[in-house]
Amino acid sequence: MAELTLIEAVRAALARALEDDPSVVVLGEDVGLDGGVFRATDGLWQRFGERRVRDTPLSEAAIAGVAVGLAAQGFRPVAEIQFQGFIHPALDQIANHAARLRNRTRGRLTCPMVLRAPYGAGVHAPEHHSESIEAVFAHIPGLRVVIPSSPARAYGLLLAAIRDPDPVVFFEPKRLYRAGKETVTDDGTALPLDTAFVAREGRDLTLVGWGAALKECREAAETLAGEGVEAEIVDVATLKPYDAETVLGSVRRTGRCVIAHEAPRTGGFGAEIAARVAEDALDVLRAPIRRVTAPDTIPPLPRLEHLYLPSAGQIAQAAREVVAWR
C-alpha cells in the first residue's frame, strides 16, 4: 500500500505486469533510459532491460503494427504513443488490424496489445499536445477503450488492459498525472474492464464523465451539495465496451442526466451516452439531457485553453438547469 500519483500508479502497474508476465513488452519513443517524457516508464529499462523496455524509432504506424505482430505471436506488447495527438498515424493499424485480427481469423490469431497515450488539455502544452479523441476509438469495433480517473483506477485498469485477450487503448489524463495521490495497493489486483464506477452517490441528478473531467464533476458536485443538490457521479472508465447499465441505473434513480467531457461536442462519446439514455430511460427522464463539453474547435494554445475545457462552473450550471427543469 502506498500513496501514489496517477503517473506513479501507471508505472507500478507496468512494473507489476513486466514482473509477473514474461510476455509483457513495453515499447515506444523514449520509454527506455529516459523513462518516458512523463516518466511513466521511469526505471523500467534499468530493471527489466532493453529487450523488454524498448525505445523505438519515431514511427507511430510501425509501433502499432509491430505490436500487432508481437501480439499475434503471443506477446503482450504495451506500446506508448507519446501524446494522443500523435496517435493518428497508428489508427490504420489499430482499426484495420489490431481490432480485427481475432474476427478476421475466427480466433486463430489474436491481438492482446495495449496502446497507452496521455490525453487532454490543461497542462499548457504545445500545439497538438492537448487532444481528447477517445470517441474515435470507441467507434472502432473490436477495440476496448479505457480511461482512468484516479491513481487506483489507473493501476487496476491498466493491469486489466494488459491481461485482456484483446486490444485495448488506454488513455491517461495527463492533467491528473501529478494532481494528487491516492492509496494504491500494488498487489496485482485488476479492476473490471467493463464496469462504470459510481464515484459519488446522490439522488438529484446523474453526472457522467471520465478521465480528467471527473475532477470538474467532483468540484461541481461539491458546489451543488452546498446548494442542497446531491449529484451522483458515474465514472465511465471503460468507454468501450460501454457499461450502459450503471449509467441507466443511476439515471433511473435520479431522473436527470448531465454528461461532461473534454472532447469537442459533436460526435463526442457523450453523444453515445445521451443516445443510450434517450433510448432506454426516456420514461424516467424528468429533464432534457445536457452535455457540457468543449466546443467544436481545436484545443486552443495554452493561453486560452481554459475557455475550451468544460469547467466545474459550467457543469454545476447545467446541473442546476436540469434540476430546476419545469
Partner: protein, 366 residues
Amino acid sequence: MAKTPPGTERTVARFEIRARGYLTAEGEPRGALPSFAEDRDQLVRLHAAMTRTRAFDQKAVALQRTGRLGTFASSLGQEAVSVGLAAAMRPEDVLVPSFREQGAQLWRGVRMEELLLYWGGDERGSDFADPAVRQDFPVCVPVGTQYPHAVGVALAFTLRGEARVAVVAGGDGSTSRGDFHEALNMAGVWRLPVVFVINNNQWAISVPLDRQTAAQTLAQKAIGAGLPGEQVDGCDVIAVRDAVGRAVERARAGEGPSLIECVTYRLSDHTTADDATRYREDREVSRHWAGEPLKRLRAHLGRAHGWTKEEEEELRARIHAEVEAAAERYLAIPPQLAASIVAHIHAHLPPDLEAVRARLAEGGDG
C-alpha cells in the same frame, strides 16, 4: 559537428544493387546454378508448385466469372515469386503475405478450399486448419500494412531466442506506403530476422512503375534503412528461391533483415474487378508472356533433367484433379452461422453484442 577530414568533399557511403538471374527467358542457364537447382527433385517440386498455383488461379477466376467467388487477384506470371519464397522458408518460419501470394500459402499448407472460402466471402477461410500455417498471417488487403506485422513477428522470435524468420511480401505499389519504410527501418535498427520480398510486377492497378517511383530499382529502397537490397529475376524461380534462401538464412543466423526485389510482370488484370485493357497495351502484355516462369523452368527441366511430356501431362492431370476436388469441397462447405458476424469480435462479448448474437442464433436479423 561532422567528423569531416581535410578536403572539402569526400565519399562517405557507397552502395550498389546487384541483380541475379539463372535462367534466360528461354530457360537456358546463364551460368552455374545454385546447388539446390542441380537436384531434379527440387526443381520438379518448384515446377509442380508453380503449375498448381496457376491452375488454382485459373479455377478461382473461373469460379468468379460464374458467380461462385468474389473479387480475386490472380498471380499469373508471378508464380515464381510466391513459390520461390515459400520454398526458401522453413515450416516454422512465419509468412506475412499480401494478397497475391497464394503460391506461397499453398506451398506452406494453406488449403485451396480455405483460400477459396476467403475470396468467396467467408472469414473461416483465414482460419487455416493445418498446424504448420496456424501462425501465418492471413491475406492482407490494406496495401503495405503487413510489413510492420512481420517486424513484430520477427521481434517475437528474437525475444524468445528462436531461430525463426518472418517473410513478408508485397507489391511495387506497396513500397510507396509509409508503413513499408517504417517497418524496414525498425527491422534494421533491431537487426531482426525478417525478409522483405517485393513482387515488382510493374503495375499497381493502372499505375505503372515509373509513375509509382523515380527509383531505378525497388531493391535500393533498402538502402535508406541500412539494409542489404538485391534484385532478382522474379520469373526465374531458381533465382527467387536462391536469393530469398540466402536472405532467410542470413536472418536466421542473426545477421539481420534484407530486401529482395523480384522483377516480374502482371500478366493478368489486377483482379477480376479490373479491366487492364483500359490502361495498358496488349502488345506489352504479349511481350512479357515470352519469359513467363512456368515455361522457363519447364524448358530447363526438359533440357537438363529429361522432364518428359508424359511427366508434364501426368502432373497437370493430378493438379487438375486436386483443384477440382478442392473447388468441390469449397462449394460444399455449409454457410457460416449468422451469429458468427459478432461472435469473434471480442474474446468476451459485452452484453449488447451477446444480445445480438443470441438474436442471430435464433434466426432473427442483427
